[in-house]
Amino acid sequence: MSLTATPSMVRDSTRRRKRSGTHAVLTALPWLVPTLVLILGVVLYPAALMIYTSFFKYNNRGIQRGDAPVGLDNYIGTAGALTFPGVPVGRILLNTVLWVAVVVLITVVLSLALAQFLNLEFRGRKALRLFVILPWACSVVMTATVFRYGLQENVGLFNRLLVDTGILQRAQAWTKDPTSAFWVAVFVAIYVSLPFTTYTILAGLQAVPDDVREAAHVDGADGLRRYWFIVLPLLRPAIAVAALINIINVFNSLPILRLLQETPGYHTGHITTTLMFEYQRALGPGVSSALSVLNFIFCLVIIAIYLAIVQPTKEVA
C-alpha cells in the first residue's frame, strides 16, 4: 500500500504524493461516507438550521411569522432569549455554572475514592461492581422519577424515612421549591454520573504499574504520599477524560431537572438547557433556537476553560 521512496525518487516525490494522495482519499471514501453522511445530515445540518432559525420570528406552534430575518431580536429583543420579561437570566446563568462545576467536581472526587476501593482485591468485588453500575444502566429518567416519588411531601418514602430517623422534623415538599429541587437534582446528577467516572478511573488505576508504587515504597513514601505523588499524577489522563465527558453530559442532562422541578414557568431553579425547552413550548422555535445557540457557545466556553486549566493532553513528566 505505502510507497517507499528511494533517494532517486525524492525530486518528483511531491507531485507523486499529491497524485497518490487523491487516490488514497478516493479509496478511503466508501468506508467513511456513511459516517460522514450521518454526521453531516443529523448533527451538523440541524446545528446550522438552529442558527438560521434563531434569526427568524416564529409563533409558539412553530409557524414562521414573516419572511425577513429579524437580526438579534430573538436574542436581545423585547421578547428575546436573554431579555424576556420575568426570566431571572443572571440567576439561571449562575445556576448553569454551579450545576456543571459542583456536579463534576464532587463526582470526580467521590469516584476517585470509589475506584480506589473497587481496585482492592477481595471476594465479591465483582458483584459489588455490578451495584455501582446500576444508575448507569437504569435510565436517568427512571432514576430521577424514583427520587421524585420518594421526596413527595405526603406520599414520599424518603421523606418518611428522614422523619422517622429524626433527621427531619417534618416532611418537606422538596420538588415544589425551585431552590431545593435544584439541589436535589444536583444530588441525582452526581448519583448517575458516578458509575461512568468510577469505571474510567478504575481503568486508569489498573494501568498504574505496581513496580512504580513499589519503588516509592522502598524510598520510604507512606500510603498517602504514594497516592498523592505517584498514583494521582499517573491517573491524570483518565481523570481528564472522565471529567470532560462528564462536563458534556451534565451540561446536557435535561431529564433530571425536568422531572425533579415541579414548579412551572420561569423560576430561579432553571439552567440554560431547561429554559430552552420552556421557551420552545411557550415562545416557539425562534427564541429557543437563539437560546440554544447561546447555550452551545456557553458549553464550548466552559470546555475551553476546562481544557486551558487542566491541559489533559500535557504529558505526565
Binding site: A137, M142, L157, C299
Partner: protein
C-alpha cells in the same frame, strides 16, 4: 486481565476486613436504595402507594401489577415496542456505519484522516439536548412511524463518535500482519475485515454496541421534543403519563420502570468485565 497475586513488599498488604465490609455495605446501600424503593413500590396497590403517611411495605406484594399494567390506559406495550425498535435500529445502524469507518481509520493513513477523526470527536461534544430545537426543525415533518426512523437516525448519529473511537482502538490493537496475510491469500479488503479482523476484535465491538444500545434505550430529549402522538412515544417519554392530574399510578410507573431496566442491567452485567478495558481503549493510552 488476570492480575498475578503475589506478596509484594508491603504495597499490597491485604486490606482490613472491616474496611472491606463497611465499604461494601455502604456501596450496596447507596447504589441499591432507589432501585429497591422502585421494586417495593411496584408491588403496592394504588391505595397503598398514595396512603398518607406512606407505608414502607405493601400488606401483600401485588405481583399481578406486572400483568395488569399492560391493560392500563398508558399502554406500556406500545411504548416498549417504540423503545425497542428505536434502540435496536440505532444499534444496527451504528454497527453498519461505524465498523468500516473504524476499521479503515485504524488500518490506513490517508490525507484528511486527522480531519475525519476531529470531526468525529467534535460530534462527541454535541448531544441531542443542545441541538433539540434544530432537530425539531429538521424532523418535524416526519409524522407517524417515520418519527421512529428519525429517532433511529438521531440516536445513531450522536452515538457514532463513541463507537468509532472505541472500535478503532480495538482494530488498531490487532497486528497489521494478520490482515496482510489474508490479503496475500486472496481475500478482498471487505472480506478481510469481516472474516479476519472482526472475529478478533469482537469484544470491543460488543462493548461499543452495548453502549449505543443503552444510550438509545434511555434517550429522552429528542424523543420528548419530536414525538407528538402518545401511542408512538418511547418509554422514557410516556412513563410520566401514569401521573395524571387526579389519579397517580406510581405503582404502574415503577412496574414499567422495572420491566425496562432488567434487560439493560443484564446486558451490562455481561460486558462488565470488558467495560474497564473498553471504555478507555481509545482515549487513555
Amino acid at each position: 486481565m488476570a492480575r498475578t497475586r503475589s506478596v509484594r513488599g508491603g504495597i499490597n498488604k491485604p486490606p482490613s476486613p472491616w474496611v472491606i465490609a463497611l465499604g461494601s455495605i455502604a456501596i450496596v446501600v447507596f447504589f441499591g436504595f432507589p432501585y429497591a424503593l422502585m421494586f417495593i413500590s411496584s408491588l403496592k396497590t394504588r391505595l397503598e402507594i398514595t396512603n398518607i403517611p406512606p407505608d414502607y411495605f405493601p400488606a401483600t406484594p401485588r405481583f399481578d401489577n406486572y400483568l395488569t399494567v399492560w391493560a392500563s390506559e398508558v399502554d406500556p406495550a406500545s411504548s416498549l415496542l417504540a423503545t425497542a425498535v428505536i434502540a435496536l435500529g440505532a444499534t444496527l445502524l451504528v454497527l453498519l456505519v461505524a465498523t468500516p469507518a473504524a476499521y479503515y481509520v485504524a488500518r490506513f493513513r490517508f490525507p484528511g484522516r486527522m480531519v475525519f477523526l476531529l470531526l468525529v470527536l467534535c460530534t462527541q461534544m454535541l448531544q441531542p439536548t443542545v441541538l433539540a430545537v434544530g432537530l425539531f426543525q429538521e424532523f418535524k415533518g416526519w409524522q407517524g412511524y417515520a418519527v421512529w426512523a428519525a429517532l433511529i437516525l438521531i440516536n445513531a448519529a450522536f452515538n457514532l463518535s463513541f463507537a468509532i473511537w472505541i472500535m478503532q482502538a480495538f482494530f488498531a490493537s490487532v497486528p497489521k500482519e494478520i490482515d496482510e496475510a489474508a490479503l496475500i491469500d486472496g481475500l478482498g479488503r471487505l472480506q478481510t475485515m469481516f472474516r479476519i479482523s472482526l472475529p478478533l476484535v469482537w469484544p470491543g465491538i460488543v462493548t461499543a454496541i452495548v453502549f449505543v444500545f443503552v444510550n438509545s434505550w434511555n434517550e429522552f430529549s429528542a424523543a420528548f421534543i419530536l414525538v407528538q402522538q402518545t401511542n408512538l412515544q418511547p418509554l422514557t417519554v410516556s412513563m410520566p403519563r401514569f401521573l395524571g392530574l387526579y389519579i397517580k399510578d406510581w405503582q404502574y410507573l415503577f412496574t414499567v420502570a422495572m420491566i425496562a431496566i432488567v434487560p439493560v442491567v443484564i446486558l451490562f452485567s455481561f460486558i462488565e468485565r470488558r467495560l474497564i478495558g473498553g471504555l478507555t481503549a481509545g482515549s487513555v493510552k
